[in-house]
């Protein structure tokens, strides 16, 4: 007969059978089933969810009122207008890894091209599994971004091509040199992908068979119903060690004014942004 894998004492025909060994076996079994360990259970995690949200203050606003979107690079132009750069230089000239776009110099000149980051930092004292990442760009009558390049697309793209310049990143800080972003580990990277591949509907003017209550008015009239893109990175299974600092960033571009893109010149104001980060945390 197969041996017992979880208990010390084994019995078989022709071996001794005494009270001490039986007592020990019974004690082991009963105490084990009175205090089952996580390894005894297939489902030993709970999914907890971080929901993020950002609604632009008003679509027409441009340079101001865009926090929490801030530049991806820390250069001299990123310093407060009446202040000075640090004498010993910037600690992290680049906040993220792998977000370069050839046409954009993110130097934060007042009216120039740039890339903007919405970064959320999380802390996990216990190990977790990063399971899902989600970012939604809800577009409607008031939030009139599109998912394609316009009449004057950047070089390499044609009018109507999908936007291909947004980045979703999850960085984990180095455990020893926590403030040096060069040493960050890239846990999730989704960049340079076609946003139209994640569009909510292929037919952007269709209406739901049964709408929910309340129905929308000016926000999404029949001529411009809710649309946009919803990026879902599911079942990622990225293990995050204990005491980790995790940074989820969404990076969007603002092109030089010569180019016509679905981001326009106020990319943070053309969609309602919704985000979710799902992690599996162990029962406690």
């Amino acid at each position: 007969m197969a041996s017992l894998r979880n208990f010390y004492d084994q019995f078989s025909n022709s071996t001794t059978l005494d009270g001490s060994r039986l007592e020990r076996l019974l004690r082991d079994i009963v105490s084990r089933f009175n205090a089952l360990q996580p390894k005894d259970i297939t489902k030993r995690y709970v999914e907890t969810r971080y929901l993020l949200g950002y609604r632009p203050s008003y679509p027409a606003l441009t340079s101001q009122d865009r926090l929490p979107w801030m530049g991806v690079a820390n250069w001299n132009n990123a310093v407060e207008l009446t202040g000075a750069a640090p004498e010993d230089g910037f600690q992290n000239p680049w906040r993220h890894k792998g977000t370069n776009l050839p046409l954009i110099v993110p130097d934060e000149a007042a009216t120039d091209d740039n890339q903007y980051s919405w970064t959320t930092a999380l802390y996990f004292s216990q190990p977790v599994v990063l399971n899902n990442i989600y970012l939604g760009l809800t577009q409607s009558a008031g939030f009139s971004g599109t998912l394609v390049y316009g009449a004057a697309p950047p070089p390499g793209y044609a009018t109507g091509d999908s936007l291909n310049d947004m980045f979703l990143l999850v960085h984990v800080d180095d455990p020893f040199v926590r403030e040096n972003r060069d040493l960050n580990q890239v846990a999730v990277y989704k960049g340079k992908f076609k946003l139209t591949g994640w569009s909510a509907r292929n037919v952007t003017t269709d209406q739901p068979t049964v709408d929910m209550t309340p129905a929308l008015g000016l926000f999404a009239p029949a001529t411009t119903p809710l649309g946009g893109a919803y990026v879902e990175l599911r079942n990622l299974n990225v293990p995050i060690p204990e005491s980790s600092r995790v940074r989820f960033s969404v990076v969007i571009p603002r092109y030089p004014v010569a180019y016509d893109t679905g981001w326009f010149q106020n990319p943070w104001a053309r969609s309602i942004f919704s985000g979710a980060i799902d992690v599996l945390e162990s029962v406690a």
Partner: protein, 573 residues
């Protein structure tokens, strides 16, 4: 179910069935009946979090701050028992599950530099820039979690906090070190008991943001309260709205312990084979609960395989002029509408459904806070009889799918007290951040209310005569979850009129959508100033307070596999 017990065996004692077989049979019976409960687990609690994401806090919130409590960023939430444990009188029974606050963490974005970030009022319009010359105390802050009795259970409950659950003073030096910054900032091992029938509120004060010549902001704040909660049994039965037609009923397999006949010779089959039955069960690992596709495991051994969960959904956050919307701030806040702004202002939030989620309660937290520094932002409670808020929560199918439709989950319309649907009919609580708060003000307002937030119940839809339990009349719990062909068939659901029918999403829901609509048929704008109650808005009527409203969903989610655990059709469990 109680823990397993046994008789002690010692040498020289006659080996009887009760000493050896009975305890093994008790365990086998529990395995066979799916009755391995939290009492049998070394870790009987599950974590849940209340996560609050705020786009930014500018200096103007603290312009009027002169002493603690004057102004703050404050957000309330509630953690009531689920429907099966809910007491309409708010009595804590011995069996009422109690949340325990375990950990708090807080973060904001500093652009990865030992620096302070400027706000929109900074010199030269330099919002979101690095300020290395700022005063060292700029990011001195105090964060607290406060508690009060709920008005629903105690009409005499004050609107101000009665207890501080925990508070932490964080010096700015925690955030400006070059070698290490405590951002995220964490406080662990709090171990604070939470009363599920009380209202809680996060309060943050950072008054130095508005000090000095250059003003500053806290950018993209993330607050995370981590709680522990006893494991729960999942919802089952045909009364659960939208549940797969299997009703969540568990299937079991039999674990058989061989009972020797009287006088039989003790053999390997008895002393080794019987323990091997239990040993094999452990080797296969025990399971239970919903899978990701709303199916249930083929055989289940666990009886407590669900966890309390909270979704805190920001609505209208960052909306309007200076992150709030009042009667005179509409000019820069409403899409496409013109004076007198008689069209609704609306917000929509969509979030994907990952694991099955059984919604037991829904709440709308209505924010009236304003920085108290400019005329149009002194935080009046609106008093127009024709003003209405309408909040809906629905399951949605059709994102990159064929069936584009919705199934309503919860819905409410409420108005000021002078209106046709007074909010008092669904009021759970009213709360302010402090007794001396300046963020709402009834001076010059026809409404005498002067507190920061309403916490209102959004009733779940009622399926015919199947009424659930909660603060006010509402439906039974509502299941949402992804499906495969075997779990698409669903039980009937209610609708906002109390109907009883098949869900339009027909098991295809992949998203949850929240809509909030604010409308005044005579116009939301400042058409007259200082009218009597029930007339048009006054100029400071605050429709959306500083950094928006919240919708809070409370329910159950199943325990989950690690992500490497798949069922036989390749779906993560």
């Amino acid at each position: 179910m109680a823990k397993f017990t046994r008789q002690n065996l010692t040498r020289g004692v006659k080996l009887v069935r009760q000493a050896f077989i009975t305890p093994l049979q008790a365990i086998a019976t529990a395995l066979s009946n799916g009755a391995i409960n939290k009492e049998h687990l070394a870790q009987p609690m599950a974590p849940f979090r209340v996560n609050l994401n705020v786009p930014a806090v500018d200096s103007d919130l603290f312009d009027a701050w002169a002493k603690p409590g004057d102004t703050s960023l404050c957000i309330p939430f509630v953690l009531p028992p689920l429907q099966e444990s809910f007491s309409p009188t708010g009595d804590l029974a011995p069996t009422t599950p109690i949340p325990v606050l375990d950990e708090f963490s807080f973060s904001f974005d500093q652009r990865a530099e030992p620096s302070v970030i400027t706000d929109r009022f900074a010199a030269g319009g330099g919002e979101g820039r690095l300020d290395f010359d700022a005063d060292v105390t700029t990011y001195d802050m105090r964060i607290a979690l406060v508690e009060k009795r709920q008005e629903f259970f105690d009409a005499a409950a004050p609107t101000v906090p009665e207890r501080e659950v925990f508070a932490v003073n964080i010096p700015a030096t925690a955030f400006i070190g070059k070698t290490d910054r405590l951002n995220p900032f964490v406080v662990g091992n709090l171990n604070r008991m939470i009363n599920p029938y009380r209202t809680y509120m996060l309060v943050l004060e950072c008054p130095a943001l508005s000090a000095g010549g250059t003003t500053h902001a806290l950018v993209n704040l993330e607050f995370s309260f981590k709680f522990k909660y006893p494991l729960l049994a999942r919802d089952t039965g045909a009364d659960v709205q939208n549940i797969p037609t299997g009703n969540g009923t568990a299937s079991h397999t039999s674990y058989t312990i061989t009972n020797p006949a009287a006088g039989a010779i003790i053999s390997e089959n008895i002393v080794h084979g019987n323990p091997k039955v239990l040993d094999s069960a452990l080797q296969a690992t025990l399971t239970g609960g919903w899978n990701q596709d709303s199916s249930t495991p083929k055989f289940e051994q666990l009886g407590n395989e669900a966890a309390y969960t909270v979704w805190a959904i920001p609505v209208f956050n960052n909306y309007g002029n200076r992150r709030l919307t009042s009667a005179t701030a509409l000019l820069t806040a409403q899409e496409g509408a013109l004076s007198p702004w008689d069209q609704p202002v609306e917000d929509v939030r969509r979030y994907p459904i990952s694991k099955p989620f059984v919604i037991h309660h829904a709440f709308a937290c209505v924010n009236y806070c304003a920085p108290a520094t400019v005329t149009w932002a002194i935080g009046h409670h609106p008093g127009s009889a024709t003003l209405s808020h309408e909040v809906g929560i629905a399951a949605m199918s059709g994102v990159r799918g064929e069936r584009y439709t919705y199934t309503d989950i919860a819905h409410t319309i409420f108005t000021p007290e002078v209106g046709v649907a007074p909010k008092s009919a669904i009021t759970v609580d009213k709360i302010s951040a402090s007794a001396n708060q300046l963020m709402t003000n009834n001076t010059g307002s026809p409404v005498t209310d002067n507190y920061n937030w309403d916490v209102l119940n959004i009733p779940l839809v009622v399926k015919g005569a199947s009424v659930g339990t909660g603060y006010f009349t509402q439906g039974k719990p509502f299941f949402i979850g992804r499906s495969h062909s075997g779990t698409r068939a669903r039980r009937n659901v209610g609708d906002i009129l109390g109907g009883n029918g098949q869900p339009p999403t027909a098991g295809d829901e992949t998203y949850l959508e929240v809509r909030w609509k604010i409308e005044d048929t005579v116009g939301l704008g400042d058409t007259t100033i200082g009218p009597p109650p029930g007339a048009a808005p006054t100029n400071s009527d605050t429709y959306v307070g500083y950094n928006g409203h919240w919708v809070i969903l409370i329910g159950k989610t199943p325990l989950s596999g690690s992500g490497w655990d798949y069922n036989k059709v390749g779906i993560p469990v």
